[in-house]
Amino acid sequence: MYNVWDDALAKIQQKMNPSLFGTWFKDTSIISNENGIITIGVKNTFFIKQLKNKYYDIISDALKKSNVDFKQIEFEVKSTNKSKVQPREVTGETIVSTPKGTEAIIETIKKNYSSQGNGLNAKFTLDNFVVGSYNDLAVGVAKNIIKNPGKSINPFFLYGGPGLGKTHLIQAIGNEILRQNPSFKVKYVPINHFYSDLIDSIKKNRGKDFYDKYTKLDCLIIDDFQLIVNKNASQEEFFNIFNDLFLAGKQIIVTSDRLPSQIKSVDERLASRLTWGGAYDIQLPSFEDKCAILRAKADFSGAEIEDEAIEYIAENVKTNIRDLESEFSKLLVMSEIRGLSPLELINSGSTTINHPGKPKQTTSKQIIEKVAKEFNITSKDLCGQSRVSNIKTARQVAMYLLRHELSCSYPVIGKEVGGKDHSTVMHGIEKIEKDIKLDFNLREQIESIKEKIYG
């Protein structure tokens, strides 16, 4: 049908002044051809009379020449929903009613606050934990522990920055152990709760009860261990409980944002014991990991979001997974409210979403300063010729950051750090890339510099 009209249009065009043709025949089409009546759709009602009264013959000729059989030609305004009633539209219902995406988010929030007395939240499972290169080792260990609580890796010391999913992972372990061994006594407790619990028991003169409560457990999960700083009493109590549980072959799981040896005022004996089973970390997720996390979250909550929008969030949130998820939720809510798809919302530039991780205009000078400060040297030292190992490492870290954070070219980086050859720069960056995988301290240092740059 459309081909016939295109054919006819070509014939009409030959007979008309191009500007007239452009005005009157643009956006026309054949809507129907029934019982010998051809209906031609036009842009709006102002076109009907003109075509009918002035161009009827031309149209009729052209159609005949295109071998179309008809008795009559009618004209009608093209319309997606003719008539004067109002069906649905996106903006409408979404503004007040709670839409699907939002509902799911609210549901999640609600469930997060429900607890079962053992501190565990059933919401956290391994099924909804997205595994990527940044956390696969920790997840592997977790699975081993679930299979053999207390017998494989004990204690399990997990560390990493805030909002990377440590709590999720250890809660999932607790839930899973409990599911497979319903008779087990599992307790999840953040260290500050442990502390206040202890104070409480001392006040009420029930130190024994407190001690019994914890030593009877089959699995003790301690969160945010770094908060134990300067709390000597609880440290001692924890050390005793730790020893008892450990000797009895019970599972102990501890998380912290840094290694025990880096926490001030933690007793050396305790620090070394905590890492007997090894220290496992969760790193910052890569771009791909972040995309995978968001996609999983979207699928889980049933929200519709374009890949580009996910990539946009993943690209712009550089801090941690918690921020990533909060930006994601915000975007979904906004998009429901505005009646735009998440991507349209981003493209419209009208998102009120802020990106905590978005770099403030960072310059190479700032990076060099921050690195120098972290290594306790001056920028001048860093950009000098010294080959003292500390300064050299700082220089290489600066090169690494200039490359990865600002995408500088090797020659430019060489110039920035005091006129080094591009091959020196390449070597330096490769060295850091390699070392970062082996050296916890170096990685911590680099993360802390990054935080300062973006913070």
């Binding site: 500007s19 007239l20 452009g22 005005t23 709006n44 009602t45 102002f46 076109f47 009907i48 009379k49 003109q50 009264n53 002035k54 305004v77 093209k78 319309s79 997606t80 929903n81 003719k82 008539s83 004067k84 009633v85 109002q86 069906p87 649905r88 539209e89 996106v90 903006t91 409408g92 219902e93 503004i95 007040v96 009613s97 915000k330 809510v333 906004m334 409210i337 505005r338 009646g339 735009l340 009120t352 979403i353």
Partner: protein, 366 residues
């Protein structure tokens, strides 16, 4: 063709119709005004193929005829003639001669055959409403502020004329705010059409003090406004308007009565400090009698102004100051009602006494 008409009348009519006869390069005839004389009635017609404006001039002893001439040129020529002058227009061989006392000019016209034929409304099949011109003008201007100019969502670039429970209402929204006004309370016939905001703008511009009633006629594709000597026709927007009635929250927990004047002042003050944050201001109701608006510009400083009013429930909401100003300017009474429930619920603004106008603003993400 021959007519004689006073400068004032002709100039006014030409200025009115020539507004839409500009800038059409593809079809030059659209830059012309059609002058038709029939039975001692002159009609001046222009169209841009989205709408048409027709002004009627009553004359006497005129000779029938029809011609088109460049609208802007004719309008400017006539408006520069001295006031009170009698103007004589004649046409011969597509040349239009305009004479006024010692002023005379001849303009090359084009035959009326080239001018597009305008659509018509069949009165029998049309839905027709009549109302006072003031009610119409106020109602339309009050909702027009909320129309969108985002051409990718055409349905929001117009004003939605619709009936429910025998009331005719007009509504507009851009997705961030919504305005509704009830125009006619005992409407017999039903309608649900979107009229382009640009056409309504022309209708509002064409309204003058001598008019007292407007007649609006709809068919499926067309709307026609008739008031005084002016008739405006416009296409309708093809698309569906959101079911906006469902967006209006019914039971808000926080209801405040505020002086409109005071609130306008406080909003303006807050807006000064809200420029760097896209106009975001924080409105807060505090017991027992405190309504405050705050804004913070990290570099400039901050503002915190308040109004005394009875507060039963407390709450806080972030709004765009421009949207709030627009809404307050659209409201008219001395006292207004400001309602909301929490920081994510829409804010509802109304006049205290009359309940025909409702304005809703979506809160900003805090």
């Amino acid at each position: 063709m021959e007519i004689e008409v006073t400068q004032e009348k002709l100039s006014k009519a030409l200025n009115n119709v020539s507004r839409i006869a500009v800038g059409k390069v593809t079809l030059p005839i659209l830059n012309n005004v059609l002058i038709r004389v029939l039975n001692n009635k002159v009609s001046l017609v222009t169209t841009n193929l989205d709408m048409a404006i027709i002004d009627y001039l009553p004359v006497s002893d005129a000779k029938d005829g029809v011609i088109t001439v460049p609208a802007k040129l004719l309008a400017e020529f006539v408006s520069n003639l001295p006031r009170g002058e009698k103007i004589n227009i004649t046409e011969k061989n597509n040349k239009v001669t305009i004479t006024a006392g010692k002023y005379k000019s001849t303009i090359n016209g084009s035959p009326a055959d080239d001018f597009p034929e305008l659509p018509e409304i069949e009165e029998k099949k049309a839905v027709i409403y009549k109302m006072s011109i003031d009610e119409f003008k106020n109602g339309i201007s009050e909702v027009m502020v909320a129309t969108s100019n985002d051409m990718t969502r055409p349905a929001l670039t117009g004003v939605y004329f619709n009936t429910e429970d025998k009331t005719l209402a007009v509504a507009a929204t851009d997705g961030y705010r919504l305005a509704e006004k009830i125009l006619v309370k005992n409407a017999e016939s039903e309608v649900g059409v979107i009229v382009p905001a640009s056409s309504l703008q022309e209708v509002l511009r064409s309204i003058n003090d001598e008019m007292d009633e407007i007649e609006i006629a709809f068919n499926e594709d067309l709307v026609r406004f008739r008031m005084g000597e002016v008739e405006i026709m416009s296409k309708l927007i093809d698309g569906s308007f959101p079911e906006y009635r469902r967006l209006i929250p019914k039971d808000n927990t926080i209801k405040l009565t505020l002086s409109r004047e005071e609130l306008i002042r406080v909003t303006k003050l807050a807006a000064l400090f809200a420029k760097s944050v896209n106009g975001a201001i924080v409105c807060e109701a505090k017991k027992p009698n405190h309504f405050s608006i705050k804004s913070v510009a990290s570099e400039l400083g901050e503002n915190d102004s308040s109004i005394e009013t009875e507060v039963e429930n407390e709450g806080k909401v972030n709004l765009n100051s421009r949207f709030l100003s627009d809404a307050l300017n659209a409201l008219e009474e001395k006292d207004i009602i400001f309602e909301f429930s929490n920081s994510i619920s829409p804010v509802v603004l109304k006049n205290k006494k009359s309940n025909t106008y409702t304005h809703i603003i979506m809160p900003l993400n805090s």
